[in-house]
Symmetry: C2
């Protein structure tokens, strides 16, 4: 995997893809499926995400304050749904679904080797956790897999319906 | 336009489309382009969004605490970009870009008649505005245009590149 400039991270998350979020707590790695995230700042990249306290990952994220956001392409859609259908309380999801936990550089949470992008994150603000289960993350390091060219992401429409990226259009925008 | 059940609002925003955000302040309506939003709660639907204080809409949203999130389909992509390229400080964007400001029911901010969905919102929490320009909105009323069937949304990848929705796939998910 190659390093991606932090200034480009928003281009990965702003389109709203379904992502995986990994944590590690007491030597045990876990992974969950997540769609409730948004960019908050360009650089350093800040990301807000909502992780329900019903999720097993919630306690690990709150305690360890580190995670990885991994972005899967369309080919992983089935596994992404299976990850979302079960809990790390009872399942080693990496093992069960054949996902490869690769070591990150700056956080204990693992990268997901099959994903085309991985973002190492730390929780920089937990003030909104109690009220909204919302964590503010700073992306410390970003990786992309150059072997996955023009990856198409998936977007959750509810109850198992996902829209896959279609055509890319280019318009004359002054927005970054 | 038809009323959409509030329980279904997340299905519109969770996929991460580019949206328009309208405000009205001292009898003057404005509209901006926005991609930094996420769901925070299913029902009542809570939405977080980041509106930079460099945007003209910021002051109106902070003062009046009301807005409409309007979701454009692909056919409006050119206008959406033009809306994002200029400021309401100097331009009546509804007039300039031929967008129709329709009266909302519960807020002063207008609906955008050309959009396939319109969400009337009030600001319910402004605690994160100073630090992150982040507003927590509650969706009070939701409208869809039944004449726009299976609308395809656009997703911002930066610098004028937008991905249009492609195929819809259905997987066996236990997630709502």
């Amino acid at each position: 995997m190659k390093i991606l400039a932090l200034s480009k991270v928003y281009q990965l998350l702003e389109p709203g893809p379904v992502v995986l979020l990994t944590t590690a707590c007491q030597g045990r790695a876990n992974v969950m499926t997540l769609s409730w995230h948004m960019m908050v700042e360009f650089e350093p990249p800040l990301v807000a995400c909502v992780v329900s306290n019903r999720n097993y990952s919630f306690a690990a994220l709150r305690a360890i304050k580190e995670c990885v956001i991994a972005i899967p392409a369309r080919g992983l859609a089935h596994k992404v749904v299976e990850v979302g259908n079960c809990s790390g309380r009872s399942v080693d999801k990496f093992k069960k679904f054949g996902l490869t936990a690769a070591p990150a550089e700056l956080v204990a949470a693992p990268l997901v080797a099959e994903c085309f992008a991985n973002l190492e994150c730390k929780v920089v603000d937990a003030h909104f956790v109690n009220k909204y289960s919302m964590f503010i993350l700073e992306v410390l390091k970003a990786w992309i897999d150059p072997a996955q060219e023009n990856p198409k992401t998936i977007h959750h429409h509810g109850y198992g319906r996902f829209v896959v990226d279609g055509e890319m259009i280019k318009l004359k925008s002054r927005m970054p």
